[in-house]
């Protein structure tokens, strides 16, 4: 009866293996759309068979376990590209918001310069008219407001970015805690010789979320993953996580500190945090400084020409524009100092209908400011700057998006759940189960036949 018993136990093993494989296949199908899930593959191995004295013993199949299909290399590339894209997207969103202030809307600086220029041309033809004088004064006020609005638009984008810094740091801290805990679990599973499986998928998913927030660098160690910022500040080591902190800096913005309290703001790159810091500390200050220089130089030149002329009351021209002493506040704080249109210095000789100074006032718009550019050129280069930065950010984001799509497809090809494959597997293992069951029923029949021999 030994031979039949062997066959029966092989049949049972076949049933167990097919059952296990069906379980794994069902698990794969069930998680086909779970974010970060990677396909599990069932590992089967054949038991050895021995033959002694004409009797076969052993044999059958063993379900060894499950093999994950994570691809760490592609995961790493995806994390890097995700950081880059998230940083670019943050900058792109800010620039899109900022560039609306440089679009011709009628209240932008270009429109205001246009109106001031043509109102001065009109003043040339009717220097004594209070209507044309009023129109010059109103255009001056509009220009000052356009500078204010544009500067406020830029600083508002800057404060939004500053808010994003605080928010990103909080999210980073939550994620690094989770990652630390998951890291510990994976390390314990690996130590006991088990596959990380679902926990590892979850870990990968969290790390990927972290890479959206800031650029990270990952090294594997016996304790699990060690995650640092791009410049080496530790975030997670094994099951330990290190929180970042924020504190208000001398410029009034949030600075990022590592767990030791060291300021690492300038070394952070990539991710939403890197993008926000880039916008806040580089992009906006660069644009604001151009705008401030323009506002201040234009206003000073205009005031100088105004001082060289004589107003309709016969007095030397007073300042038309008031500019804050601090250059950094020039564009946001510029205002018009006079309210009486008769105070515009139209004349160079002092007689009421003379327009001798109007040409010089107009010339402020057409001659180079101390920066070497005319007001229009200086503003045009600012428009170009904003526009090309916005265009570059958006092009870059699209390019990285393509790249990421490629990588995601690669990852999907190696570790994604293919419903067609799983369906085929389902049929395969169903058939295997049926065949296993047939072995058992055949052996049962043989037992019965053997029993009947005795009667």
């Amino acid at each position: 009866m030994g031979g039949l018993n062997t066959s029966l136990s092989i049949g049972m093993q076949a049933l167990d293996a097919a059952q296990g494989a069906l379980d794994v296949t069902s698990h794969n199908i069930a998680n086909a759309n779970t974010p970060g899930y990677s396909e599990e593959v069932v590992q089967l191995s054949a038991n050895s068979m021995t033959m002694s004295r004409g009797q076969v013993s052993g044999g059958g199949v063993t379900l060894d376990g499950l093999q994950g299909t994570q691809n760490q290399l592609i995961n790493l590339q995806i994390q890097q590209q995700t950081s880059l894209q998230s940083s670019t997207n943050t900058q792109s969103a800010s620039l899109q918001q900022m560039q609306t202030f440089f679009t011709t809307t009628g209240t932008d600086v270009a429109s205001a310069l246009t109106a001031l220029s043509s109102s001065l041309v009109a003043l040339s033809a009717s220097p004594g008219s209070s209507v044309t004088q009023q129109s010059v004064l109103a255009s001056g006020q509009n220009l000052a407001q356009a500078f204010n609005t544009t500067a406020n638009g830029l600083t508002s984008a800057q404060s939004t970015a500053d808010g994003l810094v605080t928010e990103s740091v909080a999210q980073i801290n939550t994620l690094t805690q989770q990652i630390g805990a998951l890291n510990g679990q994976v390390a314990r599973l690996t130590a006991s010789g088990q596959s990380g499986g679902a926990v590892e998928d979850q870990l990968n998913q969290s790390v990927q979320q972290l890479s959206q927030l800031t650029g990270i660098s990952i090294t594997q160690s016996s304790d699990g993953e060690t995650i640092t910022t791009g410049s080496g500040t530790p975030l997670v080591m094994g099951d330990q996580s290190f929180s970042l902190q924020t504190t208000t800096g001398s410029d009034g913005f949030q600075q990022v500190l590592d767990f030791n309290g060291k300021d690492i703001t300038n070394s952070i790159q990539g991710g939403q945090l890197g993008g926000a810091i880039q916008v806040r500390d580089t992009t906006v200050p660069g644009l604001l400084s151009q705008l401030n220089t323009l506002a201040s130089q234009f206003a000073n030149s205009f005031n100088a020409v105004q001082a060289g002329g004589i107003d309709s009351n016969g007095n030397p021209g007073q300042n038309v524009f008031t500019i804050p002493i601090n250059l950094a506040d020039a564009a946001s704080g510029i205002s018009v100092a006079i309210t009486n249109p008769a105070l515009i210095a139209v004349s160079s000789v002092g007689s009421p209908n003379s327009n001798g100074n109007v040409a010089s006032l107009s010339a402020v718009l057409t001659t180079a400011l101390p920066s070497g550019q005319t007001a229009a050129m200086a503003y045009a280069s600012l428009v170009f700057d904003v526009g090309s930065q916005a265009a570059n950010a958006s092009t870059q984001s699209t390019a990285i998006g393509e790249n990421l799509l490629q990588l995601t497809n690669q990852l999907g090809a190696t570790s994604g759940v293919n419903i067609n494959d799983e369906t085929a597997n389902l049929i395969r293992f169903q058939t295997a189960y049926e065949a296993g069951a047939r072995i058992v029923s055949t052996i049962q029949q043989l037992y019965a036949d053997t029993m009947n021999m005795m009667t």
Binding site: A32, L95, Q96, Q99, T100, F102, T103, T104, A110, S111, L113, T114, A115, S117, S118, V121, A122, S124, A125, P127, G128, V349, S351, P352, N353, S354, N355, V358, A359, S362, T366, A376, M377, Y379, A380, S381, V383, F384, D385, V386, G387, S388, A390, A391, S394, G401, E402, T408, N409, Q410, L411, G412, A413, G416, V417, N418, I419, N420, D421, T423
Partner: protein, 299 residues
């Protein structure tokens, strides 16, 4: 070759691309512009700053030309009237100098010349829109008949001239002060008329002849001054033509920079719509396809 069984990311990316192309095409048709924000074309947006300023200026230069042109034309026609009046005074003077007039006639002629004098003073005080044509920058009527003055009048205008901007770095002088139009070192239009009145009142034929000759020479002088306004008018007319040209150039530059041909925009829109529908149709066809569709349910 391994393929990614999850086609959703690719599908989403394709659909986003086609949707964004559709949005762009739609916006271009709606605004008629290919550049709506600086990032659409940074170079063109920057160039548009100068274009907008220039367009505004050219519009205003054209208005200035029109305003100034009417002033210059008025001044020119006033001077024509002055010449006519002076010619009348010369014929009256010639009549007064022929020695056949009675004392009463002489007084009548003198009164007529006096009338001519008054009308020339009034012409010299002409104003357009509140600005005195021959008063320099003065704000009150420049000429007053003044019998106590040796010339018979006083000039209260200024000696200023005005130049009005009518183009980039082009301004046209649009007036001559009365002190220059009606008098010089050798001619004095109003003075000569006043002297003729005095001579006619005095009745001395040779004095009348001398005074008439002086008025006659004034005619030539005023005609010379009139040439200034003729030149200004020519200059303004040619500038107006050039400004119209500038308007066309600037508008076509703007179209080249940020505009879009309506036919192109419409074609782009149609193409984007077709692409979008094709992408959606493809998705609808592909999405539900799995092996399961082709397996009969277990019996």
């Amino acid at each position: 070759m391994q393929i990614n069984p999850n086609i959703t990311p690719t599908i989403l990316s394709d659909m986003n691309q086609s949707q964004s192309a559709l949005n762009t095409a739609l916006q271009q048709v709606a605004t008629g512009l290919s550049v709506n924000v600086p990032s659409d074309n940074p170079t063109a947006s920057a160039a548009m700053v100068q274009n907008t300023i220039d367009t505004g200026n050219v519009d205003q230069y054209q208005q200035n030309v029109n305003t100034v042109l009417s002033t210059v034309q008025s001044a020119s026609s006033v001077l024509s009237n002055v010449v006519t009046a002076l010619t009348r005074a010369v014929s009256l003077g010639t009549e007064g100098a022929n020695g056949t007039n009675s004392a009463a006639n002489m007084q009548a002629i003198a009164a007529q010349v006096q009338g001519v004098f008054s009308s020339v003073v009034s012409l010299a005080n002409s104003s357009v829109g509140g600005t005195f044509l021959f008063g320099g920058n003065g704000t009150t009527a420049p000429y007053t008949a003044d019998s106590s003055a040796s010339t018979g009048y006083t000039y209260t205008g200024t000696n200023d001239v005005s130049s009005v901007a009518v183009g980039n770095s082009l301004s046209v002088q649009v007036n001559l002060p009365g002190s220059q139009v009606f008098s010089s070192s050798s001619n004095n239009v109003l003075g000569s008329l006043n002297a003729l009145v005095t001579a006619l009142q005095g009745g001395n034929s040779s004095a009348i002849s001398t005074a008439t000759a002086a008025v006659n020479s004034s005619i030539g002088f005023v005609s010379q001054q009139q040439a200034f306004y003729g030149n200004a008018e020519n200059q303004l007319n040619s500038q107006e033509t050039s400004l119209q040209q500038d308007t066309v150039t600037l508008a076509s530059q703007a179209t080249n920079l940020v505009g879009i041909n309506l036919a192109t925009a419409a074609t782009n829109l149609t193409q984007a719509e077709t692409e979008n529908s094709a992408a959606m149709a493809a998705v609808a066809k592909v999405m539900p396809n799995t092996l399961l569709n082709y397996l009969s349910p277990p019996a």
